[in-house]
């Protein structure tokens, strides 16, 4: 990548080149490089594990997406939209019908009435909602509080926004919020708290008491809350509560969600952010420069999906609870310490009884010797050491697959 640098390299100049002939002028001698912000972010653990899994023919209970497909009525709506010619740019912040459907669903779920035109923004998945929220509302140097373990893109996007991360670790067995510790990290530079409930990877759901405590803290210190609620319909042991619905909270909360988990269509990339107009404005600005618009036919289909009757959601929960039972019983019988998971389609377990030195070593062993994939949770912590005893399994797979995986573990996993 070296270009021709003249032998006489002058000191860095302020003024630009002034004559046509001086083509071999100075250049700063830095080699071309990618940004500093990327130093921490290499290929994700998911990609690595998936490649290893394919090589060994392992059953993949690592990836957080279903091996079964979404409901026909939603797919047909997308097909109809394509045939009806809905293939050009949608309005940047969402197709009106979808914005309305999102607002209607939110009202059913939380009782809050929001303006679909001013308070709902459609994004390419919840991942983009998170990125747009950070970039639109966080300034370099702002402190943001995060709970570990956390979905791995949070750290990356916070870093892209130049935020300083203050991390609170949730610990087994119940991963409850250490409220006093949380209070102690709030400073005058704290801008926001980023939370995820139901929680990936632990399956923990924030309780009313915990939400009340977070709410008081936010109101007292004038903080924002960014709440990732993609698994809200996979709530098994208790009801999901949106923090935006607590008194004094809507005006300072961005609630994020998506179609993918609820309707088993993770590849469609339809997500949204709900927030009061002044916060929505920031989210929309960033969004319009990240992706400009979201896939049009899928938005039409999403509007249909979100108007599904309650029976759809009940059946979804029943199906997932049956899957969860298969996995949890299996994991227990094999000898893992299984931590209670109230929501999401994840379960976190302690693997140490099998004698491997850490979570990554255990996952590699599990793939190669047993033929099952789990995700090492150390990647979900700022300090990987904190996660080394835990691995995450997912049960968003059909029952046959789950039973086969359990069988393999029963046969081949041995305690040391």
């Amino acid at each position: 990548m070296a270009s021709s640098i003249s032998t006489a390299v002058p000191a860095p100049q302020q003024a630009a080149v002034s004559t046509q002939d001086e083509l071999t002028q100075k250049i700063p001698t830095q080699p071309l490089q990618v940004t500093k912000r990327l130093e921490k972010f290499k290929t994700t653990i998911f990609t690595q594990m998936s490649s290893l899994a394919i090589k060994h023919g392992a059953i993949n209970l690592g990836q957080g997406f279903p091996n079964f497909d979404g409901p026909d009525f939603v797919k047909e709506a997308a097909i109809q939209a394509i045939r009806d010619g809905k293939n050009q740019y949608a309005r940047g912040y969402g197709v009106p019908n979808l914005n309305s459907a999102v607002a209607e669903r939110f009202k059913k779920d939380t009782g809050l009435v929001v303006d679909p035109e001013k308070e709902v923004t459609v994004t390419s998945g919840c991942t983009e909602a998170i990125a747009a929220t950070m970039l639109g509302l966080i300034n370099p140097g702002d402190e943001v509080i995060l709970f570990a373990p956390f979905y791995d893109s949070y750290e990356a996007t916070l870093s892209m926004a130049g935020a300083k991360i203050k991390c609170i670790t949730l610990r087994p067995p119940d991963f409850s919020i250490p409220i006093d510790e949380l209070k102690s990290v709030v400073s005058k530079n704290t801008r926001a708290i980023l939370m995820n409930t139901p929680h990936n990877p632990t399956g923990k759901m924030f309780t009313q008491e915990e939400l009340n405590a977070i709410a008081s803290l936010c109101i007292e210190n004038d903080l924002l809350v960014f709440s990732d609620e993609v698994y809200d319909k996979l709530a098994f042991e208790m009801d999901h509560i949106s923090i935006a619905s607590l008194p004094g909270m809507y005006e300072r909360t961005v609630t994020m969600n998506s179609l993918g988990k609820t309707f088993s269509l993770t590849g469609w990339k339809i997500g949204w952010a709900i927030a009061p107009p002044h916060l929505t404005w920031g989210v929309r600005q960033a969004h319009s420069f990240l992706t400009f618009a979201t896939s049009t036919p899928m938005q039409f289909a999403a509007a249909t999906a979100l108007r599904a009757p309650d029976s759809y959601y009940e059946e979804l929960r029943r199906d997932y609870m049956a899957k969860k039972n298969i996995l949890v019983e299996g994991l227990n019988s094999v000898g893992f310490t299984v931590f209670p998971s109230s929501g999401t389609y994840f379960v976190v377990v302690d693997h140490t009884t099998f004698g491997l030195e850490n979570d990554v070593a255990f996952c590699e062993y599990l793939i190669k010797e047993v033929g099952v994939v789990a995700i090492p949770t150390s990647v979900f912590y700022l300090n990987p050491e904190e996660g080394k005893n835990l691995v995450r399994f997912t049960f968003c797979k059909d029952e046959e697959t789950l039973k086969s995986a359990v069988e393999r573990m029963k046969q081949k996993l041995s305690k040391k």
């Binding site: 630009a16 080149v17 300034n139 370099p140 924002l224 600005q285 990240l290 896939s295």
Partner: protein, 403 residues
């Protein structure tokens, strides 16, 4: 206001576009829309069928369709003679929009300067700012939007990290020539900077003009990130399938950012992209010839209304028309009148120009041309263009014209 304090500095600096107001006006007058840069005719049936088939075949979970990379690599070889490794050098993104944004985040650090040619599509500047960079605008010179080497050289400083090149060009329809590309390439090498290209109109060129990718010039592939998409070539702007092509060390950085911004482009449309990208040469030939006749129609239509079409677009689906000399209205005022009197809407050019240019003479007089251009889109059906033509002719026949 306390609420505004919650926004980031970048978000606060952005203002709503004046185009919004014109949209409302256009709706009220039921105006024919020659403003929006997307087709009003259907996407090709074989591609839509491929998408439908993908949805029915359960291609609906997160995926990366490697076949897209294979096709894109093949096309780069066919069109530009470039050897691109489909396994490492290509990143599939949610449209060229996301490819560009991810690239900016991958290569722009706080304070890095990035050169953009003026006029330009407004998104480039904002992406650069979002990533902490400083946009530096270099004016192309009317009436033919020529590249001035002096102006270009004056824009480089120790902080220059990269240059953005959009060709074929929105809004002017200019296609950068080989000579111009050589100048830009020379500057990139001299100053050891990266180049990011936006080539979304790569298949829409006229008068036997070929699109040349900057990356295909000697020594440029290793420092260029090419971005493009399905959108304009296949009339599916709403599908959000695009890509970035770069040497592996940059592509992997762009990929890592993309994964954190959206993680995956819509799966069924990735699958349909395989069909699109396998379209035979005849598809591209007829795309070009269809758009060429639309261009001719648009240029004629505007000439009849009194525009002096000195510069005809050689690519893209836009005409950037200068207001007639005797017209005393500004571009925005003209567009308002066009909506009210002729029922046709276009985009005032001011949104594409920047007044802080990197050169000595930035006086209001020298910059007056920035309020004298209107952008018309001709990515419209023959019926739409014919209707627009009729309405504009009527304006002339009625003896009104727009003053």
């Amino acid at each position: 206001m306390a609420e505004m304090e919650k926004l980031s500095l970048v978000a606060k600096a952005l203002t709503p576009s004046p185009i919004q107001q014109l949209s409302y006006l256009a709706q009220r007058y039921n105006a024919i829309n020659l403003a929006e840069g997307f087709p009003d005719f259907p996407a090709p049936p074989h591609i839509k069928n491929a998408a439908v088939s993908a949805i029915n075949s359960d291609f609906n979970q997160y995926r990366h369709v490697q076949g897209i990379c294979d096709h894109v690599a093949r096309k780069m070889k066919e069109m530009h003679g470039l050897d691109v490794d489909p396994l490492t050098d290509i990143v599939i993104c949610c449209g060229q929009s996301e490819a560009f944004a991810a690239t900016m985040f991958a290569i722009v650090d706080q304070g890095d300067e990035v050169i953009i040619f003026d006029p330009s599509y407004e998104t480039y500047e904002t992406c650069i700012r979002l990533a902490g960079g400083v946009p530096v605008h270099v004016a192309l010179e009317p009436p033919n939007w020529t590249l001035n080497l002096d102006k270009l050289k004056k824009s480089f400083t120790v902080k220059t990290k990269a240059i953005v090149l959009n060709s074929p060009h929105n809004p002017t329809g200019k296609v950068f020539t080989k000579d111009e590309l050589e100048i830009i390439a020379g500057a990139c090498q001299t100053w050891n900077i990266l180049a990011i290209t936006d080539e979304v109109y790569e298949h829409i060129t006229f008068d036997k003009e070929s699109h040349i990718s900057l990356a295909s010039l000697p020594e440029m592939q290793k420092r260029t990130i090419v971005t493009s998409s399905l959108s304009k070539t296949f009339s599916v702007t709403g599908w959000r399938i695009g890509w970035a092509i770069a040497p592996a060390w940059i592509a992997s950085a762009v990929r890592n950012i993309h994964i954190r911004i959206t993680d995956s482009a819509p799966a069924p449309f990735q699958e349909a992209a395989l069909t699109a990208l396998s379209s035979p040469p005849a598809y591209f030939d007829s795309l070009r010839s269809d758009y060429e006749s639309k261009r001719d129609c648009a240029v004629n239509m505007l000439a009849e209304v009194g525009f002096k079409m000195q510069f005809k677009p050689k690519g893209s689906f836009f005409v950037f028309a200068p207001l007639p000399e005797n017209c005393t209205l500004s571009d925005v005022e003209f567009v308002e009148e066009l909506i009210k009197q002729a029922g046709v809407v276009a985009v005032p050019g001011c949104g594409f120009f920047h007044t802080t240019l990197c050169e000595e003479n930035s006086s209001p007089a020298a910059l007056s041309y920035q309020r004298r251009y209107i952008r018309f889109a001709f990515c419209k059906s023959e019926d739409t263009l014919a209707a627009a033509s009729r309405k504009l002719s009527k304006l002339v026949d009625d003896g009104r014209g727009i003053k």
